[in-house]
């Protein structure tokens, strides 16, 4: 806590802290999207023929699809022909070790507080760093490899483990699932791949850091996590982007598969550039994240802290197919100034005795709009399905909005679905009480919102929790008083 407060003090203005641009010669595609660009990306990455075919198929499907209009957000149409679909930080040769990572790139990650240095590593966190769409370094690979764990970039997985990629890629989020998943399938340039073999409990947090750097580029990562029978992994994802006047597009796809008795915990701290006070610039974050509890007694848990992006459109979901499987969604979404977020989850109960839990905490300030959209679906064979949803909104000021759209579809009469929702305002009384104990208003607000979000913050691994607390405080600076 006290650490958080000092950070608040240090950051005098509520300016985006991660808004620098790294100057590395980029190796990029010209703007626009057509089959040639798809071929260019695939060729750049020396991909096998089957991968190119997969991409081309996706591209052709995408051309027939329409931009979704149903989310409760408004933004100018994205010109998909103005975006560059490939941008790789230029590196002279293939790297033999982490010591060879471009010093400037290394400095970028140091600034983000991520150490690529295995000696000075974060305590027990393996990192895959993805800058503009390309994975630049994966730490701890060898140690993990000895346990049979595969943790590498997606490009590498396509080459080294084609049978796994072919088996699982697109199995949870089909190419045609939605407009952005189709786009991602056609043009994704990298991402992380993670495979935990049968019975292995991954001994460290696996972490990917995404950063958009080059101007006018879209970032389309693809993440695939497969947890075999009886395995366990906790996976962390962090995101930042430089401050720019124009909007940047981020359209990722994350797929998780949990087989019998497997457990996957996926945590995100999303801090893409949110745009300035007037709403200029910022990242459009259109992400498809879905996991399938394919096996019995399996568990998938999503935890997200969303503070960035100009527009967020994101519903990490769980398909509860295996009997007795468990899905969880813990979310804190903060919107300030002109930010808009439409986020939530889908819990699809298919197997017997499946359980899901949704805890959503929305915090809105400034002129922002924050919507929770959640679907709980209980299929006709999902005997004894249970869901509990808690959606709380906290408002700062009276110009922002909080909205809740819970959808419940139950086809089995033994299901128990509970939904609770509250909306509150940070009261003058609470702030005055804190002031009277020597806390200034910024500190008071930070304390109150961290209290409000506590149930979700508690789900984060320690390394992330502190960072997330700071982020909450920073993103709301100057929004009260």
């Amino acid at each position: 806590m006290s650490e958080m407060l000092t950070t608040l003090e240090q950051t005098a203005l509520s300016e985006y802290k991660y808004g620098w641009v790294t100057n590395i010669e980029a190796d990029e595609a010209p703007p626009g999207l057509n089959e040639d660009i798809v071929r260019f990306i695939s060729a750049k990455k020396n991909e096998p023929e089957w991968m190119l075919e997969w991409r081309l198929k996706a591209f052709r499907q995408w051309q027939k699809m329409e931009v979704p209009r149903w989310p409760n957000v408004t933004y100018p149409d994205v010109d998909f022909q103005a975006i560059k679909y490939y941008s790789a930080p230029k590196q002279k040769k293939t790297l033999n070790s982490l010591d060879e990572v471009d010093p400037e790139l290394r400095a970028t990650f140091e600034k983000l507080g991520i150490s690529l240095d295995e000696q000075k590593r974060l305590s027990g966190v393996a990192v895959d760093a993805v800058i503009d769409s390309v994975s630049v370094a994966t730490t701890f690979k060898k140690q993990l490899g000895e346990m049979g764990i595969i943790f590498c970039s997606m490009s590498e997985a396509i080459k080294e483990h084609p049978e796994l990629v072919q088996k699982w890629l697109g199995s949870v989020v089909p190419v045609t699932d939605n407009f952005y998943s189709a786009l991602n399938s056609a043009v994704f340039s990298d991402g992380s791949f993670c495979y935990i073999p049968k019975g292995v409990k991954c001994p460290m947090e696996l972490s990917t850091y995404f950063r958009i750097n080059a101007a006018g580029t879209g970032q389309f990562e693809r993440t695939l996590i497969v947890a075999e029978e009886g395995s366990y992994v906790s996976y962390l994802e962090g995101c930042t982007a430089p401050q720019r006047d124009e909007n940047q597009l981020h359209a990722a796809v994350v797929e998780i598969v949990a087989l019998d008795n497997a457990e996957v915990k996926y945590s995100t701290v999303q801090n893409w550039f949110p745009g300035d006070k007037e709403g200029k610039g910022g990242v459009f974050n259109f992400v498809t994240k879905r996991g399938i509890c394919a096996g019995v007694n399996s568990k998938i848990s999503w935890t997200q802290v969303e503070t960035g992006s100009a527009v967020t459109w994101k519903y990490p979901s769980v398909i509860l197919k295996g009997d007795n499987s468990v899905g969880e969604f813990y979310s804190v979404a903060v919107t300030n100034n002109r930010q808009q977020a439409d986020t939530g989850t889908k819990m699809l109960h298919i197997g017997k005795n499946t359980r899901s839990r949704i805890v959503s905490k929305g915090i809105s300030a400034g002129y922002s709009h924050n919507s929770y959209r959640g679907l709980v679906q209980v299929g006709k064979n999902a005997v004894n399905a249970r869901n509990f949803s808690q959606c709380d909104s906290l408002l700062l000021g009276d110009k922002c909005g909080a909205h809740t759209f819970p959808y419940i579809e139950v086809k089995n009469s033994t299901a128990q679905v509970e939904h609770e929702a509250t909306t509150s305002k940070i009261g003058e009384d609470q702030i005055f009480y804190c002031n009277q104990r020597g806390l200034d208003t910024e500190t008071a607000v930070a304390l109150i919102i961290n209290g409000f979000a506590k149930e979700v913050m508690n789900q984060l691994p320690m390394e992330f929790a502190v960072e997330a607390q700071k982020l909450l405080a920073i993103s709301l600076e100057g929004s009260v008083g």
Binding site: M1, G427, D429, Q436, R437, G438, L447, I448, K454
Partner: protein, 254 residues
């Protein structure tokens, strides 16, 4: 310590304090009594700097500083503490965490380093004993679901932790059972060290049996209309406020 001169304040066009004069010297305990709605909590809030109230006249000097010029948090950091009549709840923030933040904010203002964890814990233990408050209460969210008495006791605990120069207790005794009343009063008495001053707002003489005041004031319709020693409280207990009204020449209904 505290000099209030002709203090006037209003809320939403309504004149509530109509010229308060009060002097509190270091180490003194002053009690303020008065009927409901006479302006006691308003006085406490204005001194603590609540922005709903508009000060329309007068001066307040606290430790040689112009109190009315200071922000509410700086008043606190200068050593002014208010035990609220209705303490607020802050969900998800433990009392321990809250007090730690408060202690360190005040230390920072004084140019001191944050208190280290060991020292903080030691101090917590010591003060917990003083007001006989349970550890389990302090790990719960601040005041959330606390009983009325627990909230009041928590206020006194915070006072003990923050060691103010001047503590204003706004009806800290109401809602307390007999034992709690004694514990809270003893806690206050232990904090009387000849330098720390208290302004105790109460309706009941009973509290003043435990916390013996140097001066007792009657606040009525926004003015201090009578002051005296501790025997004034006894007199009020016996006779009610009617005799004051009579003295003021107001008609009293039978």
């Amino acid at each position: 310590m505290l000099h209030i001169k002709n203090l006037q304040a209003r809320i939403e066009e309504k004149e509530i304090l109509k010229g308060i004069n009060l002097d509190i010297k270091p180490g003194e305990v002053h009690a303020i009594m008065g009927p409901n709605g006479s302006g006691k909590s308003t006085l406490a809030s204005v001194l603590a700097g609540r922005s709903d109230y508009e000060v329309t006249g007068g001066e307040v000097e606290f430790n040689g500083k112009d109190l009315l010029e200071l922000s509410p948090e700086d008043r606190s950091r200068e050593g002014l503490f208010l035990a609220f009549q209705y303490p607020v709840e802050i969900p998800g923030v433990s009392t321990t965490n809250f007090i730690k933040t408060a202690v360190n904010e005040i230390r920072k203002y004084r140019g001191e380093e944050p208190m280290d964890a060991v020292e903080f814990l030691k101090k917590m233990k010591e003060k917990m004993k003083l007001v006989e408050i349970d550890q389990s209460l302090l790990s719960r969210s601040l005041n959330e679901g606390f009983s009325g008495g627990e909230k009041k006791r928590n206020e006194i605990f915070q006072m003990a932790m923050l060691e103010p120069n001047l503590a204003i207790l706004d009806e800290t005794d109401s809602g307390l059972d007999i034992d709690a009343l004694r514990i809270v009063a003893e806690g206050v008495n232990k904090l009387r060290d000849g330098k720390r001053s208290f302004l105790v707002i109460t309706h009941y003489q009973r509290l003043l049996d435990y916390i013996v005041p140097d001066h007792v004031h009657v606040l009525y319709k926004g003015r201090i209309v009578k002051s005296g020693g501790k025997e004034l409280a006894l007199e009020l207990e016996e006779r009610g406020y009617d005799f004051i009204k009579e003295e003021l020449g107001e008609s009293v209904e039978a």
